[in-house]
């Protein structure tokens, strides 16, 4: 009995000790605890909201040294979903994402500036429609720790903004709709 308790104690100590070392995480796609959402003004009257259903990615994160964090995400552009098949067909076409020519969009972080209070600016290369441009994600740590099923998780939220024309999307949607906002939610399971 004592030995068992001691064993559990050791596991707990190890688990507590580990966050001080950079760990690699896989974004939880299987459980769908991550989402890549976008929104763009419709005529300036309301927000059109959609998301990319299929993507994958990894990140490394050390609570004690958040500036060393890295993240890489790959998005299946054809998985765009604005809850309207006819519109999604148009968005996948040459006017917008041109997914047959550019099936993937990627984000690879280059530098992270953390404020030490759970917020960070992640600057990285975002590639969309074959165009690579720096994009800044305003990220915030949501939480992290042992999950109830024997794993260890870490989660973030982020926001970014990008101009459609920067990525060669020139279809005119009106003066209010030049930029699209990204609303990102990422939960990783430690590998």
């Amino acid at each position: 009995m004592m030995a068992r308790m001691f064993g559990f104690g050791m596991v707990a100590v190890v688990a507590l000790a580990q966050p001080t070392v950079a760990a690699d995480y896989e974004i939880d796609i299987k459980g769908a605890h991550a989402s890549i959402n976008f929104r763009i003004p419709h005529l300036g009257f309301s927000w059109l909201v959609g998301r990319f259903d299929t993507f994958s990615g990894t990140f490394s994160y050390d609570e004690a040294n958040p500036a060393a964090a890295k993240i890489a995400v790959e998005i299946d552009t054809a998985s765009i979903n604005s809850n309207h098949a006819e519109r999604d067909k148009h968005l996948r076409g040459a006017d917008f994402l041109d997914v047959t020519t550019f099936p993937k969009a990627t984000f690879v972080s280059r530098s992270v500036t953390a404020d030490g209070a759970g917020k960070a600016k992640i600057v990285g290369d975002f590639t969309l429609r074959g165009v690579t441009k720096p994009v800044t994600i305003d990220a915030v740590v949501v939480g992290g720790g042992a999950d109830p099923w024997g794993g260890y998780r870490q989660g973030f939220a982020g926001k970014a903004k990008l101009a459609l024309a920067d990525f060669g999307i020139l279809k005119e949607l009106g003066p209010a709709s030049k930029e699209v906002e990204l609303d990102l939610h990422v939960e990783g399971v430690r590998k």
Binding site: N83, H84, A85, E86, D88, K89, R92, K171, E172, L173, G174
Partner: protein
């Protein structure tokens, strides 16, 4: 002119179906071509596809009537054609049916792929029968290419009909004019 088709010529019902569908399909092709290039702020950005869908579904209904009518009528003879012409003529005529079905059904699937119904002129809704992710893309390809092939067949058909109307009028009768 008879209501029904005879061995010598098409009757009134077949003629109305033939010419109204010829007109509607030509307009649908032009409308479809034009509307996919419309600017988002065009006043026709919404109404043009609405009209295209509504007319398209009415033509699909007309096609059903036409196939049924064809099956319960005798076929006017094509004895004045040479064997080569006859084979080509029958291939073109028979080719139209599956192509038009593919064309219109695929159009219906583009708009109903996510379970939405199609509103026909505000008169009634045609509900979705299949909702499947990605159906709109597959249906879109079929719709586009079957439209091109139908229009190409229509050109061949029209050229052949004009030839027999003005060039070699064998017996002075006109089956469809």
């Amino acid at each position: 002119m008879m209501i029904k088709d005879s061995r010598d010529q098409y009757g009134a019902v077949s003629r109305v179906l033939h010419w109204s569908m010829a007109l509607a399909l030509s307009l649908l092709f032009a409308l479809g071509w034009w509307m996919v290039g419309l600017d988002y702020y065009s006043p026709y950005y919404k109404s043009a596809p609405d009209l295209h869908r509504s007319v398209g579904l009415l033509v699909l209904l007309a096609l059903g009537v036409r196939i049924a009518w064809r099956l319960i009528n005798v076929k006017p003879n094509d004895d004045d054609l040479s064997p080569v012409e006859r084979t080509a003529s029958r291939a073109v005529h028979l080719g139209f049916y599956p192509l038009l079905i593919a064309l219109m059904v695929s159009g219906y699937f583009i708009s109903t792929a996510d379970g939405r119904a199609i509103d026909v002129f505000g008169w009634f809704n045609v509900p979705a029968v299949v909702a499947a992710p990605g159906l709109e893309d597959a249906a879109g390809l079929v719709h586009e290419w079957s439209a091109y092939v139908v229009m190409a067949l229509a050109v061949v058909h029209s050229a052949a009909a004009l030839k027999h109307r003005y060039w070699n009028v064998t017996n002075g009768r006109h089956r469809m004019w």
